[in-house]
């Protein structure tokens, strides 16, 4: 067996052991802090420290008790729906706007100051305002994600357009391409890898933001679920929530990365 592969499996396991040790240490010092084994039982079911039989959070992630009481799978789906809703909206508006800013100096001058000012604002700062406008949890969360996602998409799209080399544009000029042909045949192929980089960044931030946004808006969703478990004093579920959020975020990023590579001509042995 390949020695590198062994290292890739063994070394993280060593770190995992250290993490569990530290975690146990904290659980012994902080009162009511869940131990790793409590958390395991809470996640997958079994007999807890009070000798009670419990059903794990992950043993039945698909249950639906009523609208407010659903399994963890549905909580995640709810959050993902909002993330992708806001993300899709940001794409639909951000990509054309980025193309425009990249292609036109005037558009760049017009929009750049606002992008610079709004980009550093935490999307959560918008949340109260959005809640006031929409009076609806879902719309508020989606529009928060929209505001989160749009900046990296605009900026990277514009950057992609700017990186189109003068030579390619000269080819287009000699062939007398229409503006539309220039966009489709020259600018987009160059810009697409940049757009996907922007999308990947956006999606990662959106997933960060949704957890916090849902804690504030309440209702349903993985963020609110974690907050709810805090209110229920079910601290082990908070830890489970954190791990799940991490895994889902990792999965999202990996999938986005694969899609991005698929569309990136420079990553196909073509330079």
């Amino acid at each position: 067996m390949n020695i590198d592969l062994v290292k890739r499996i063994v070394l993280p396991l060593l770190v995992l052991i250290v993490i569990i040790q530290v975690w146990s240490g904290i659980a012994h010092t902080v009162e009511d802090f869940p131990t790793p084994s409590d958390t395991y039982v809470a996640a997958f079911g079994g007999i807890n420290e009070f000798d009670d039989e419990v059903v794990g959070v992950l043993s039945d992630p698909f249950y639906i008790e009523n609208v407010d009481d659903k399994g963890i799978f549905w909580q995640i789906m709810e959050s993902l729906k909002r993330v992708f809703g806001g993300f899709a909206l940001a794409l639909i508006i951000g990509v054309p706007l980025g193309l425009l800013i990249g292609m036109s100096k005037n558009a760049q001058y017009a929009f750049d100051p606002f992008i610079q000012i709004f980009k550093p604002v935490s999307p959560l700062a918008w949340l109260p305002l959005l809640l006031f406008i929409f009076q609806d949890i879902n719309l508020t969360a989606i529009s928060t994600i929209f505001i989160t996602s749009i900046w990296p998409i605009i900026i990277n799209t514009a950057l992609g357009v700017k990186s189109v080399s003068e030579d390619y544009m000269n080819v287009a000029k000699v062939l007398q391409f229409t503006p539309m042909e220039k966009v489709v045949q020259i600018i987009l192929p160059v810009a697409i890898p940049f757009i996907f980089t922007g999308m990947r960044l956006s999606l990662a931030i959106a997933w960060l933001v949704i957890v916090a946004a849902e804690m504030l808006t309440g209702g349903i969703g993985i963020g609110f679920w974690i907050w709810d478990e805090y209110n229920n004093l079910a601290y082990h579920n908070i830890i489970i929530g954190i791990i799940i959020v991490g895994l889902v975020g990792f999965l999202l990023d990996t999938i986005m990365g694969l899609i991005a590579n698929y569309f990136d001509y420079t990553k196909k042995g073509r330079a």
């Binding site: 000269n170 080819v171 000699v174 045949q185 192929p189 001509y265 196909k268 042995g269 073509r270 330079a271």
Partner: protein
């Protein structure tokens, strides 16, 4: 003698902030005949590219006029195809697709069968059948440049403009491409304007060599007629008195009359 491509009192100034304009080239007068092969030679920075870009329509002259078939050139167009120094193939398309894109745009009336036949014809003209489905990133420098030439020729231009097409290549590949170009030219008989730094290349390829003085205010210094029969054979030419005369004329122009100290 039909006036095919004519440059009259052409001048190009570049604005420089806070100073007077930089006059790159001035007072350029040139008549180019149909099917003539012209090379432009001169020291770096004398305005060769500037001149070619104005003929291509990628840049506008500040004074004077450039006419093709009696019509003023107002912008770029496919009747003046350009082969760029750095090939400028689109890296996300294969060789075939790069040529296809150009033919499709310039000859939209072609059926898909005719389109295919045309693209294949120009690919085989540069002997690249084996590389037609490769992306530019997978080709050698010489092969890329051949695709660039095929792309330029495939749209049936009236003038082929080449800005140091072989400048980035090693001397063996360069010689090979010169042979390619001469062979193609035998059958296609285009009007060609080729910028070069290479004296042998200029003499070997052209009917006339335009020698440019140094900038600023660069202009045409001398025009040399190359009276050599075609097809020309590189090896045989080495001892040909006419070839030697032409070489010496260019050498003396570039290194005696208009030598550039800072090179």
């Amino acid at each position: 003698m039909s006036e095919f491509l004519s440059l009259k009192n052409v001048e190009k100034r570049f604005p420089i902030s806070g100073k007077d304009d930089y006059v790159a080239v001035t007072d350029v007068n040139l008549e180019i005949k149909k099917n003539e092969i012209i090379s432009i030679i001169g020291h770096s920075g004398c305005g060769k590219s500037t001149l070619l870009n104005m003929i291509a329509g990628l840049d506008m002259q500040s004074e004077g006029s450039i006419e093709l078939n009696g019509k003023k050139i107002r912008g770029p167009g496919p009747e003046r195809a350009v082969v760029f120094q750095n090939h400028s193939l689109l890296p996300w398309l294969t060789s075939y697709q790069n040529i296809e894109m150009a033919v499709k745009k310039v000859m939209p009336e072609l059926s898909s069968i005719e389109l295919r036949a045309r693209v294949e014809k120009y690919i085989s003209m540069v002997n690249l059948e084996h590389a037609k489905d490769k992306a530019p990133g997978e080709l050698s420098g010489g092969m890329k440049q051949r695709v660039g030439i095929a792309r330029a020729l495939s749209i049936n231009p009236e003038v082929l403009l080449m800005d140091e097409p072989f400048g980035a290549l090693d001397s063996l590949t360069r010689a090979n491409l010169q042979e390619h170009l001469m062979r193609i030219q035998e059958s296609v008989k285009n009007t060609v304007i080729i910028i070069t730094h290479d004296i042998d290349e200029a003499v070997l390829l052209s009917d006339r060599v335009i020698m440019m003085t140094n900038g600023p205010d660069a202009t045409i210094g001398e025009i040399l007629e190359v009276n050599l029969e075609r097809p020309r054979k590189r090896v045989e030419l080495q001892h040909d008195p006419e070839y030697i005369r032409c070489r010496e004329a260019i050498l003396s122009f570039l290194y005696e009359k208009f030598a550039k100290e800072d090179e």
